[in-house]
């Protein structure tokens, strides 16, 4: 008797895992198709650049404050923690290098992408989801206007444009925050801070690679947010779940992509 219930519950669990796998795969395929269609119907986003510009405003400009404030704090914490460790080895001048390299290579692109997913990604998902729920996308279709060209593609390109800008700002503001802690507060030498940094941060290997990372994250985060909104069940619950999924999937994707990109860039 006990054996048979165990048996049934195992089968049920396996079946659940299987159906979830199928569901995930299906969504992956649908997402890839939306990505492809977005690229195909991107012409209008550039021909009528005002459409894209408006979305740059609502994704990029609206994320400025959170990016700048977070970058400032992240930079200050990095300087504090870095100093704490580095002064034990008598190389507190290297604090500039530590702050700059951490920000430019990793924290700038990654934290920006995570904040972007939370700030702009959720907004995109909720907006598209609600447009679907209130039949705005259907209405557009019925007016012979392609919603992918008119709604999805401009938002996609706006995200791809905004992300590297935000990430560069994040790195720069973070370094300034680190400078404020290291130089006036702790008393590290001003010249050593900058010169060590310049000696060790390579423009192509570190800064350009950081920008490339942020562009890739921009594509991933924006596309995930758009797909989740476009695919959301047209109910209040459906949109709220899609919004949550945007944050979860974007964050995981960004971290995984970061590992892959870093391993390529470090050429190990």
């Amino acid at each position: 008797m006990i054996k048979s219930t165990l048996h049934i519950s195992i089968i049920r669990t396996l079946r659940g895992i299987g159906s979830r796998m199928i569901e995930r795969t299906w969504r992956l395929g649908a997402g890839a198709r939306l990505f492809f269609l977005t690229l195909v119907y991107s012409g209008e986003s550039f021909r009528r650049f005002n459409l894209t510009l408006r979305e740059v405003y609502s994704t990029g400009v609206m994320s400025l404050l959170i990016i700048i404030v977070s970058a400032f704090f992240v930079g200050m914490v990095l300087a504090l923690q870095g100093y704490n460790t580095l002064q034990k080895y008598g190389s507190s001048e290297a604090i500039g290098v530590l702050v700059a390299l951490s920000l430019v290579r990793e924290l700038g692109p990654v934290v920006t992408a995570l904040l972007f997913a939370g700030r702009a990604g959720t907004a995109i998902t909720a907006e598209i989801g609600l447009m679907k729920t209130t039949e705005q996308l259907s209405a557009m279709e019925m007016m012979a206007v392609n919603p992918i060209a008119r709604v999805i593609a401009p938002r996609f390109w706006a995200g791809v444009i905004s992300m590297p800008i935000l990430a560069s700002l994040f790195s720069m503001v973070g370094i300034l925050g680190g400078y404020l802690v290291a130089v006036p507060l702790i008393g590290v030498d001003d010249g050593a801070f900058w010169s060590q940094m310049q000696a060790n941060v390579d423009f192509r290997l570190d800064i350009v690679n950081g920008v490339i990372k942020s562009i890739v994250f921009g594509v991933a985060c924006t596309m995930i947010a758009l797909f989740e909104g476009y695919d959301a069940p047209p109910t209040a619950e459906g949109v709220s779940r899609a919004t949550t999924r945007t944050v979860v999937i974007s964050s995981l994707t960004v971290l995984a992509l970061d590992f892959i990109l870093t391993s390529f860039m470090l050429e190990v």
Binding site: V61, L64, L166, D202
Partner: protein
């Protein structure tokens, strides 16, 4: 929705982004210092370069005058060939002395140039003859420990001639290393 205010904000946004990128390139990165106008290239052979890497600074009297371009291995002499680019504004005499130093005790390694007294200056493609290898910390420490140990030994049995000879040889070697 007012187009012009949006345009303005997007303009500010993009300008900030470009400024940040420029700031990163100029102030943080080595874009300015690595491309100090025209350079001339000279090479130097070292028996041991320690952990010197491409893009490491080349300094003279503490001033960055160039950068390490590439490091290759010469399999005929079993030496490392370090190619360095030096700013055209700074000519160096032919008998310039190239050292590999470490910034601080554990810092990164750089090439230090000490000017000689020759009338002729280094030209593009020239070779620096006088070089001194990187100090390898482990080697130094082991030499120091060995010499200490053998000193103690020689104190105990001062009649052992061969041992003290070895100690002498080691300590001269150690003395050559710049502490």
């Amino acid at each position: 929705m007012d187009r012009t205010t949006i345009d303005l904000w997007v303009g500010i946004f993009v300008a900030l982004g470009v400024a940040a990128l420029l700031g990163l390139a100029m102030k943080v990165g080595n874009l300015t210092s690595s491309k100090i106008g025209d350079t001339y290239s000279v090479s130097a052979a070292f028996e041991n370069i320690g952990s010197l890497k491409p893009h490491a600074p080349v300094k003279s009297a503490g001033v960055v005058v160039g950068r390490v371009d590439s490091i290759t291995f010469d399999s005929s002499k079993y030496e490392a060939i370090v190619k360095i680019n030096i700013d055209k504004r700074y000519p160096f005499p032919k008998d310039t002395f190239a050292n590999i130093y470490t910034a601080g005790l554990l810092g990164e390694q750089y090439v230090g140039l000490e000017a000689g007294g020759d009338e002729d200056t280094l030209k593009n493609g020239d070779k620096i003859i006088k070089t001194q290898d990187a100090v390898v910390l482990e080697k130094m420490i082991s030499q120091f420990l060995f010499s200490k140990a053998s000193e103690n030994k020689s104190d105990d049995k001062s009649d052992d001639g061969s041992n003290s000879k070895a100690t002498k040889a080691k300590s001269t070697e150690l003395g050559a290393a710049p502490f």
